[in-house]
Symmetry: C2
Subunit: 201 residues, 2 copies
């Protein structure tokens, strides 16, 4: 078999497609971060990427799928599950709090979660996306490894505590919670998460 000439690609791929795709994703990320779910438009994203809006939809199908593709989850979820599970079982809650805070303390890493959360408060499709992402890639796998009854219930309670912690500390900035050292926050919130994960409910 003779290899295809250099630069030749298979059907359905055109030269420069991956560059165009990346330009759309970069534009989408900037638009969603700056304007939120509601005000970011496919039209503006296409303009910033220098392409036709129809091409954006051809590549990504809808604004929701584009959003999902652009807002990459800001951590390696498999590694995160292992990190939370590794160590004494009595400190699962503290490790989950500690991991969560390590992501949110970094403005670059918390930005995609904040954008998703903002979007979820105004748009049912975005809420579904956050729910599916968080449950499918992180909390679901973590819960299934705990060997406890009702893992989904436990994980939904953890998600409530964590979303509230993120919102209260980093978005609404309730004091003194917003100014505490992360180690202290882990001590304060860890036991609540521990009970949700392994306690009698």
């Amino acid at each position: 078999m003779t290899p295809p000439p250099a630069g030749k690609r298979g059907p359905g791929r055109r030269p420069g497609e991956s560059g165009t795709r990346q330009a759309i994703l970069d534009a989408a990320r900037a638009q969603f971060a700056a304007h939120g779910w509601d005000r970011a438009t496919v039209r503006a994203i296409a303009r910033d990427a220098g392409v036709d809006p129809a091409l954006v939809l051809h590549f990504f199908g809808s604004k929701a799928f584009l959003f999902a593709a652009a807002m990459r989850w800001p951590f390696d979820t498999d590694a995160a599950v292992e990190e939370v599970l590794s160590g004494p079982r009595s400190q699962l809650g503290e490790r989950l709090a500690s991991f969560f805070l390590s992501v949110w303390e970094d403005p670059q890493r918390r930005e995609p979660i904040m954008v998703m959360l903002r979007a979820a408060t105004t748009n049912a499709q975005a809420a579904e996306l956050l729910r599916e992402t968080l449950m499918t890639v992180f909390l679901g796998p973590l819960g299934s490894r705990l060997e406890v009854p009702d893992p989904e219930l436990r994980m939904s309670l953890c998600s409530a505590q964590l979303i509230g912690l993120g919102t209260a500390r980093y978005i609404v900035a309730f004091e003194p919670l917003a100014s505490l050292e992360t180690e202290r926050v882990v001590e304060l919130v860890g036991p609540a998460l521990q009970r949700y994960m392994t306690g009698e409910l």
Copy 2:
């Protein structure tokens, strides 16, 4: 002294002012509920109320103050503090959870809190407003009545748990949390609130 003629008012008040003010508040409430903080505009509110935008600003000073005036807190905060405090101290957390859920279960009553929360995720001024409102009118007074060390810290932790519960159950709709009976949610979340309110931290 002769009373002023009927219909005459003091300086700075014009006939119909309270009706106009009410029309602006009604228009603002509808605009903020429908479009959120960011997209609701003073111009659109003025148009719906049938007045000039300058009059809106004359009455309310700014979009933030208009928002605060329009989004009335959906419960009697003094009565709420008494309700949570009345009963066994060991069930403070359950009563706070129960009260919170009674407000959020009613779509009419949760709407203003959801609008404030949405606004807070996109706008620092709105975040400050939510923070001040919640702390000044409800959680602050409640905390000061608990006779515990660090009441502000405890109340900011309660606010994190409650905001997260509201978001996870009613906005993002994490299952099975979103579908549970309220009595069960009280059992599940009450102990975490109890520890934040009165436990060793």
